[in-house]
Symmetry: C2
Subunit: 569 residues, 2 copies
Amino acid sequence: MPYTAPVSEFKFLLEHVVDIAQITATERFCEATPDVVDAILREIGHLCDGIIAPLQREGDLHPAALENGVVRTSPGFAAGYRAIAEGGWLGLSASPEHGGMGLPLTLNTALNEMLSGACLALQLCPLLSQGQIEALEHHASDEIKAVYLPKLVSGEWTGTMNLTEPQAGSDVGAVQTRARDNGDGSFAITGQKIYITWGDHDVAENVVHLVLARLPDAPTGTRGLSLFIVPKWLPDADGVPDAPNGVTVVSLEHKLGLHGSPTCVMQYDGATGWLVGAPQGGMAAMFTMMNNARLGVGTQGIGVAEAAFQHALAYARDRRQGRTPSGERSILGHADVRRMLGGMQADIFAARAIALSCAAAIDMQQATGSAEWAARAAFLTPIAKAFGTDTGIAVANEGVQVHGGMGVIEETGAAQFCRDVRVTAIYEGTNGIQGMDLVGRKLSDGGEAAFSLIKEVEDTARAARDAFSAEAEALWDAAQSLREGTEWLLAQDDLNDRFAGSVPFLRAFARVLGAQFHLRAAQAAPRGNRAALMRLYFAQQLPELGGLLAQAQSGAGPLYALDFHAQGD
Amino acid sequence: MPYTAPVSEFKFLLEHVVDIAQITATERFCEATPDVVDAILREIGHLCDGIIAPLQREGDLHPAALENGVVRTSPGFAAGYRAIAEGGWLGLSASPEHGGMGLPLTLNTALNEMLSGACLALQLCPLLSQGQIEALEHHASDEIKAVYLPKLVSGEWTGTMNLTEPQAGSDVGAVQTRARDNGDGSFAITGQKIYITWGDHDVAENVVHLVLARLPDAPTGTRGLSLFIVPKWLPDADGVPDAPNGVTVVSLEHKLGLHGSPTCVMQYDGATGWLVGAPQGGMAAMFTMMNNARLGVGTQGIGVAEAAFQHALAYARDRRQGRTPSGERSILGHADVRRMLGGMQADIFAARAIALSCAAAIDMQQATGSAEWAARAAFLTPIAKAFGTDTGIAVANEGVQVHGGMGVIEETGAAQFCRDVRVTAIYEGTNGIQGMDLVGRKLSDGGEAAFSLIKEVEDTARAARDAFSAEAEALWDAAQSLREGTEWLLAQDDLNDRFAGSVPFLRAFARVLGAQFHLRAAQAAPRGNRAALMRLYFAQQLPELGGLLAQAQSGAGPLYALDFHAQGD
């Protein structure tokens, strides 16, 4: 069953739910007229449906492989990547100065979701390049920018991120890779990095690594980290890849999913690199791109969720099994099948609206420089990441269930979505870390950003009172509960009492925001499926809120009373 | 990290939570003295830890394969199976008349869980034999019993269940396989069956199929189905496998998990079989064993959950990453890691207690013939099946999350639990069908069985008032909410309004039962981990109840208002 990019859904959301007009009214994004937006969404749709989606199964069946030290990618992936590059899609949001289109991240988020729905394993490659482009735009010297950015934006070269080491996963400060000054402006990088996505491949002529490493005598911990750019092939004076660099692929990981995406162990043996940003400025550079990368990963979850939903719906429409109460001949007639599919769809809508509104806040921050937009973007980012990826996992899992026995037969394709999407809740900061970020750093403003979002929810509820009184009231009540929950967290003296409830709190926030967006959509299209989907969400999904907030406010006590060391011995 | 069978946990549960003394006080089960129970649990533990658990990864890496029409099983599986057979474990609950031990199903449930935790792919083989033994004990002629039961109980032969056909999955009534009377007491069976677990193998000398088929001129639907016994090798007059029968393996399925368990497409070409039970009595015979098989599958989920929990806990204990608020050096110091592991453990306890109390009710039904015990067993069965398998899936998924990036690397083993356990929510009646069974057939007594269980919850709450006043009150309130939810379902005129809320209702019931069992355990061991785990469940898991009951009572309306046909076109 082929994937169909949800182009008209994005149009509706951009117009009615996240107010793209506000973005395109700024000088920075004034070129993104409605016509341009429409044309771009349509083009992305063609690319994803026609060229990228057929690669999804290929990547799973024919994994990327290491042959004589070089990664050979899955059949068709090189052509698929070239189609993305030639469409100019690597540079959708990149600066026009280096060949980018300079369009809003909101549109780029739509691009990323549709590519992810079509083939997540391939989409990772351009996603990493996007992150590298952003990092270089903000932190690299003009010289480095001039050499690397045009190549990355055109897609001739691709980018990777090298943070993780065996002893340094979530704890980036434990990184041990060393950098020695060569005395000629370059550095010699030595160390091993793991989990390097698309660390090597045969789809483009060069691979450019951004590597976190430690200069001699640098302090321990994150403060001592610097960022280096290390190309696989060293460019000559004209920027043409010329001499091989001291970087090799040691092995590929054997993963649950994403078989088409080579996950490399990389060895740097005195590889030549150049500083990006200031010495010891590695974390600052990382943080610049991390927020957008996290949004990007949340968007991956939503893309897979959409694909898994379409796949399950198509199966349910065709499958006849048992008499149904409604007399419908397919299993769509069964209430529980509808409950599953409706819940999947309602959550996809919520997660997508949250991701787009996060992207919109980043765009507004960029366009206006406003601290308020920045705070809003920062607050929404961990929610978009964790809720988007949790939704991906939950929807893919429910998609298998809709298929019944066929769901676990690999040829059906439903199980692959589960396998592929699972890691999105882990990489780019586990969802637990997203929760800690939300209740820690993102509430460190005394709750200003949180309360401003809650206030907006109340405004939405107020505005919907006439058209949807019951749901408006439910949303209002939800906002009050969420406010109380937020106040409870803020009142805790021990930060660990916040951390204990961080994941349920994040989810509670997402539930309320999702309700708000559903209500906005229903107001824009009060008849038909939009309102029906909104009502289903209020009946089936929003009721989770009470339990989530109770969990969020139960503190660290019960968690630390349990003795895990006494067990299993 | 090796699996350790939770022997002492079972002892505690049997003694303090499900009251095995009540069972062993009956004449039927008087031989199951505490010494016998202890010795048996210990033996099972040795078998599972030492012999079966090492096969878990083997089965995944070296799947069962079809070679020249015969299934070759994974390395070590034959020896593992023989150890199970030679221990007499196939017949733990089988009648002594044919070589069984005649011990309570409650003990057999412990056996099944521990075998599943050690290696689910292998455990499926004896589980299927158990089901066949039970079916033959109840429905087969003395002649068939005499030939087949001793072989099945000794494990020399294994059993399979053949229900599903491509067009007949959950809708068993659509079965088309035909049976023609040979005029000599035997029948010629012709048709194709799919999803036949352990349909062929090399671990024992014969494979005995129970096949649902239709006699000539039989009515359509389930009423027209008869059950036949069809051995792979036809026994001679002395019961020795002699001539090949007309049954072949067409292919093996390529599955998400359980690679060590051969899932066969079977072709019957006029294969010789004999009636089990009356003509057109196939469904009656199926239903006899289906309840216990469903409990068995629920138990599989719990076994995998236990193994995944142990695996994740061992990883967390070892893994150092980041400064933790508690100063603990492993990631066990992080509140969210404790939240995940504590939730896993609390749910495993709840699911295990529910499964054991279901088994205990079946034992009491068998020992006393009481209709009340029968109704209780029937009511608990879909809850044990769905909650046990949902817990398996959720815990395995959380186990991957605890591992962080290592979780999706197959060598770690965490991901295999997810892949292996996924199908348990589907086979032996999807969990959606369990929900429909619960709110349909199992509430057709006007709620008598449900209210009797709720009354027991209230009694538990009352008894705990002094020792645990806050939790006793919470449990009492939960019982009231559950009663209201049950009354709401019973009051619906349209059965589909019940069906719409059936899955959340089932889960709500499990949540309350789980709370009850946790409280009982804490009362029996009021200090230390039992009480801490109970408090964690009340803080983190029980609060789901409100949302679940709201979902359960939202009716079919919102689900049918959504037009799935209008979408994606």
